[in-house]
C-alpha cells in the first residue's frame, strides 16, 4: 500500500538554526499538508499546498516557515530560525483531492535546544 514517508525521524537542532523537514507524499496525490503536534497536545494544521502554491495556512505558519516542492516527489517544510517552542512532531499528509482522505506520514520529531 502506498504511504507517505518523512525524513529524518528525529532532528535535534540549536535555537536559531535552520531546519528542513522532508516528505515524500503518495505519488498520485495533488494536495499536500503540514501539521504539527506539540507533546501531549492536539494535532494543529500549519499549511496546505496545491498546484505549487500555498492554498491555506494557519496563524502558526508565520514568516519563519516556508514550504517547497523542489521536484516531482519531495515536499519540504523549512523553519528559518528555530525557537524552543518549535519543538514538536511535524506530520506531512497528502490527499488525491481536497475532499479525499488525508494520508499522514510517520512524523519528524523536532527538538530545539
Amino acid at each position: 500500500e502506498p504511504e507517505v514517508t518523512q525524513t529524518p525521524s528525529h532532528q535535534v537542532t540549536q535555537m536559531g538554526q535552520e531546519v528542513i523537514l522532508r516528505c515524500v507524499p503518495i505519488s498520485n496525490h495533488l494536495y499536500f499538508y503540514w501539521y504539527r503536534q506539540i507533546l501531549g497536545q492536539k494535532v494543529e494544521f500549519l499549511v496546505s499546498f496545491y498546484n505549487n502554491e500555498i492554498s491555506e495556512k494557519s496563524e502558526i505558519f508565520d514568516d519563519q516557515f516556508s514550504v517547497e516542492r523542489p521536484d516531482g516527489s519531495n515536499f519540504t517544510l523549512k523553519i528559518r530560525s528555530t525557537k524552543l517552542e518549535d519543538s514538536a512532531m511535524y506530520f506531512c499528509a497528502s490527499s488525491a483531492s481536497s475532499a479525499d482522505e488525508q494520508y499522514f506520514g510517520p512524523g519528524t520529531r523536532l527538538t530545539v535546544t
Binding site: 507517505v4 494536495y31 499538508y33 501539521y35 497536545q41 492536539k42 494535532v43 494543529e44 494544521f45 496546505s48 499546498f49 496545491y50 492554498s55 491555506e56 494557519s58 506530520f91 499528509a93 490527499s95 481536497s98 475532499a99 482522505e101 488525508q102 494520508y103 499522514f104 506520514g105 510517520p106 512524523g107
Partner: protein, 114 residues
C-alpha cells in the same frame, strides 16, 4: 476558537467490550467529520468519516453516529481488541479556500486491557 473537542481524555475498556468515544463540535455549519486513530510513535490514521446528511455510518467494527441537534458525534468500536489501543481524534475541515485543512480535537486515549 476550537470547534471540535472531546469529552474524556482517557478511556479504559476490557478486551471484547464495546468502546464509545465522544466528540462535541460547536460550528453548526460543519458538514463533514472524520475520526483518526494515532498509535504511539505514528501519524494519524483515517478510520471513518461522515457527512452531515447522514446520522450513522458503519465500517469494519466501527460505527460513527452524528447528532446534529446537539452537535455531537461518537465513534463506537465493537469487540475492542488490544490493537485498538491508541489516541482517537475527531476532526473537521477548517473554513477554507481550496484545501481541506483539518481541525483536530484534543484526543481520547483508549486503553484496552486483557
Amino acid at each position: 476558537g476550537e470547534s471540535v473537542g472531546l469529552h474524556l481524555p482517557t478511556l479504559s475498556v476490557q478486551e471484547g467490550d464495546n468502546s464509545i468515544i465522544n466528540c462535541a463540535y460547536s460550528n453548526s455549519a460543519s458538514d463533514y467529520f472524520i475520526w483518526y486513530k494515532q498509535e504511539s510513535g505514528k501519524g494519524p490514521q483515517f478510520i471513518i468519516d461522515i457527512r452531515s446528511n447522514m446520522d450513522k455510518r458503519q465500517g469494519q467494527r466501527v460505527t460513527v453516529l452524528l447528532n446534529k441537534t446537539v452537535k455531537h458525534l461518537s465513534l463506537q468500536i465493537a469487540a475492542t481488541q488490544p490493537g485498538d489501543s491508541a489516541v482517537y481524534f475527531c476532526a473537521e475541515p477548517l473554513p477554507q479556500g481550496s484545501g481541506y485543512a483539518l481541525n483536530f480535537g484534543k484526543g481520547t486515549s483508549l486503553l484496552v486491557t486483557p
